[in-house]
């Protein structure tokens, strides 16, 4: 790599994060701890000594760990089945699995209570318990593990495991000693993202948990917005940063130890149709299971969008076509348009910045690179209130971005970049240096080596992470609820506006808008998956 290219690769992500993450977050924390320029650290003492805050920190930590473990357990059979078998409707099912990821909590909560609530279909009342929080976290995040791990699994040579079996290993031993170590970089990457998402869980805890539970994220929201206690909020934000950093540091160590060079195969040569009755039965069971955990709550919402009583079944959808002439009303088309262009810009930013950062992390050793890696992940583990309000006080110079519509995709990209990095780094590291050396020996300049050897392989990771970046933006993740938004209502914003008013028609329209959000998400993911399939044919 030339020095110039290297400087650009480091400079782009570093500059982006410095401007849109470090500067805003530092500004709001300084505003809290040193409002008049004189630092006052008593809020930090309060955070360190208060029993109730320690309780919140402990709950935040253990529910995130439990949620991550449960999500992985729920996702692994699905990832395996998707990787190893061809069956009809697989691609659609895989896209639908990503849909929960983007759905607004307030909408999902209604469906969840219809299943797990006091008069729910399950017959057991889990409402306002830790179980419904964990179930919702699995529901939301299962796609992260399935797609990240499944993406790698689909290209692992099954002959490795078969060889172990021939040598006398049981099925479980072969998995544990051969496949699992090969998958572990992807598994750890997915786990770290699920952990950060659930560590900063807000809506699920507030709405489904029933107010007796609070994560640090909820507490920072309460102190900032309800009690207007910026000093304490700044103390809590520092505690959140500290906890997330130490966990990520430990994760970085284990990830580096586990990176492996692999010979990957095109997925078409790995997956086969289920042949034995036992395999067919297993695939059928997994498909049914995906429907139950991920799609039953969504199906309920879709059903409600058509449940108009004696009006025509499309009445709610027809009402969405009407713009109504009010500043608050949004036509479905306008919302789709806004969602799509914002997501496209967010994805573009996240991909370019994330890939440069991933290249630096993957090909550099040493403490500085690890610190850089950690910094890249931090936005995912930082409270949306902290980032949103930080942007509000910091980003008025040199250009005033605070009320600019571009702040929305920028804030979304901040959440999406860690995805791009986490998904790409293990794949970049899996490229055998010998291939690169061979290309260099044949006279290829470094840029060309990267293009010819690394890029085709990285493209697959790129497609997975671009899909998630798009979904993150479609779902309005991150700080955008706390910045002052110019009038560009996206699908989730339109859903919130409809739900903010009484009247059966508003609820019905909100359900219809939610269904449209599902269709848009599934379509985008299907399109991205198509990119991925064609690319893999190249090697």
């Amino acid at each position: 790599m030339s020095k110039l290219a290297r400087a650009a690769l480091i400079g782009l992500p570093l500059g982006f994060l410095a401007l849109f993450y470090v500067y805003p977050v530092a500004s709001i924390i300084i505003e809290g701890l040193a409002p008049d320029g004189v630092p006052d650290f008593s809020p930090l003492r309060e955070v360190a000594t208060s029993g109730s805050i320690r309780g919140v920190l402990w709950f935040t930590l253990w529910q995130a760990i439990a949620s991550t473990v449960l999500t992985i357990l729920a996702a692994m059979p699905v990832a395996y089945t998707f990787a190893r078998f061809h069956f009809p409707g697989k691609r659609l099912l895989s896209a639908l699995l990503t849909v929960p990821f983007v759905m607004p909590t307030v909408v999902v909560a209604a469906a969840f209570l219809a299943i797990f609530g006091s008069s729910g279909y399950l017959g057991i009342d889990l409402s306002r318990s830790i179980w419904i929080i964990l179930a919702a976290h699995v529901f939301y995040n299962v796609a992260i593990v399935v797609r990240t791990v499944g993406g790698l699994w689909a290209h692992l040579d099954p002959r490795l495991e078969e060889a172990a079996r021939t040598l006398g290993a049981t099925r479980w031993e072969a998995f544990r000693t051969v496949t699992l170590p090969l998958l572990s970089p992807a598994l750890l990457a997915a786990a770290s993202i699920v952990f950060l998402f659930t560590f900063t869980s807000f809506g699920v805890v507030l709405i489904l948990g029933g107010l007796q539970y609070a994560t640090l994220e909820v507490e920072i929201y309460r102190q900032t917005i309800v009690f207007n206690d910026l000093p304490l909020a700044a103390g809590l934000a520092l505690a959140q940063l500290g906890a997330v950093s130490s966990i990520l540091w430990a994760y970085g160590r284990s990830q580096r130890r586990r990176s492996v060079e692999l010979s990957l195969l095109p997925s078409d040569s790995v997956a086969r149709p289920p042949r034995t009755p036992r395999q067919r039965w297993a695939v059928g069971a997994v498909v049914a299971y995906v429907w139950v955990i991920a799609l039953a709550p969504l199906a309920l919402l879709v059903a409600r969008s058509f449940d108009t009583g004696s009006a025509g079944p499309l009445a709610f959808y027809e009402a969405l076509a009407d713009t109504g002439g009010s500043t608050a009303s949004v036509s479905a088309l306008e919302a789709i348009g806004n969602s799509l262009w914002i997501a496209a810009v967010a994805t573009a930013i996240a991909t370019v910045v994330g890939l440069s950062a991933a290249a630096v992390v993957a090909y550099t050793k040493g403490t500085a690179a690890r610190g850089f890696d950690l910094l890249l992940m931090l936005p995912l583990g930082t409270s949306a209130v902290t980032i949103g309000f930080g942007m509000l006080i910091a980003l008025d110079w040199p250009v005033d971005l605070r009320a600019s519509v571009l702040l929305i995709p920028l804030a979304h990209a901040l959440v999406a970049i860690p995805f791009v990095v986490r998904v790409s780094v293990p794949v970049m590291r899996s490229v055998r240096p010998r291939l690169r050396e061979a290309a260099a020996t044949l006279g290829a300049p470094p840029g060309r080596v990267w293009r010819e050897i690394d890029l085709p392989i990285v493209a697959r990771a790129l497609a997975v992470s671009a899909g998630f970046a798009f979904a993150i933006s479609l779902g309005e993740f991150g700080a955008t609820s706390f910045i002052a938004r110019p009038d560009t209502p996206t699908l989730p914003v339109a859903i919130f506006r409809l739900l903010g008013r009484p009247g059966a028609l508003n609820l019905g329209q909100a359900m219809a808008m939610s269904t449209i959000l599902m269709v848009v998400t599934a379509t985008v993911i299907l399109t991205v998956d198509r990119l991925r399939v064609r690319d893999v044919g190249d090697f």
């Binding site: 505003e31 307030v106 909560a109 209604a110 219809a114 008069s119 507030l206 709405i207 029933g210 107010l211 007796q212 309460r222 917005i225 309800v226 009690f227 207007n228 009583g309 009006a311 009445a315 002439g325 009010s326 500043t327 009303s329 994805t347 573009a348 930013i349 991909t351 890939l355 309000f389 509000l392 006080i393 005033d400 971005l401 605070r402 009320a403 600019s404 571009l406 995709p409 890029l455 085709p456 990285v458 493209a459 671009a466 706390f482 002052a484 110019p486 009038d487 919130f496 739900l499 903010g500 008013r501 009484p502 059966a504 028609l505 508003n506 609820l507 990119l531 064609r534 690319d535 190249d538």
Partner: protein, 344 residues
Amino acid sequence: MFTARSVLRHSTRAAMAATIAIVAASCGGGGADSITLLAHSSFAISESTLQAFTEETGIEVEILDGGDAGAMLSQAVLTSDNPIADVIYGIDNTFLSRAVSEEITIPYESPLIDGVHDFTRLDLTNRFTPMDYGDVCLQYDRQAIEGDPSALFGDPSLGDRLVVEDPATSSPGLAFLLSTISAFPDTWQDYWRQLRESGVLVVSGWEEAYYGEFSGASDGDRPVVVSYGSSPAAEVVFAVEPIDEPGTGIVEESCFRQVEFAGILDGTGAEDEAKQLIDFMLSTTFQEDIPLNMFVFPALESAQLPQVFIDHAVVAREPRSIDPAEIAANRDRWIDEWTEIVLR
């Protein structure tokens, strides 16, 4: 065909386009022919009404969505050195004192101010001009509640039929807590203890209460909810098929009055234009457009109400209220006390 290279090339182009757009956005904007209105998420008005203002004055209005009233006030306070907008809309009487003492707005006495209802004139410094008002009340499902609904407020055994919002996270939740404090100044804690014992359900926001638990609007099984006095009117306007009578009623005795204010943000570069907007928002054109857009009542006494409001929206004759200064002084303590009693 898509290849890895073309994907990368397109992403690079998109990023460049974004960069150019950022630069372009920073160069434009800011002229006095356009002003920015920071409003809470429930703000809505007819496009034609804003258009009328633009035609009259040549000033375009851009709207910034600041989230709920609490988040919007925090945004205004945090950016007071260099405001993100020229005018703010939607500070209510529970936040008024704080907003006044933070001096985020400049005093302006509109020539039209004498036309508003007396009870809305809560800010004598004129930093905030009243714009609309409405009541937060107990709303009940007519099919499930028999007998005299006025007995519901103050009934200690109502708990298992009632869903309320957490006053810490919800503006109607806070209004209803204030209503109980106003009605039972010495015994409100006992009242809430009894509601807890009889099984009151607390949720985080109005959406979850109304669309999730209230039997009058959802599959839920709670026939009484903390909601708005105008909800029955909204249920008629937003019925799936036309109805004459809403299926819900309002317990007038429980109503707490909320007044919403607008003000000119200190540091605006467009003070004259902002004054024109405040005046316009007090005009009949704007005020009469408020009810069917925001489902609250116009502050202007002479504004005509739409028929559906006259028929179905409730304004309490003697609403509960607490002085904004007293709310500001006790708000955090009351919320903490309530949380201890009801949730811990």
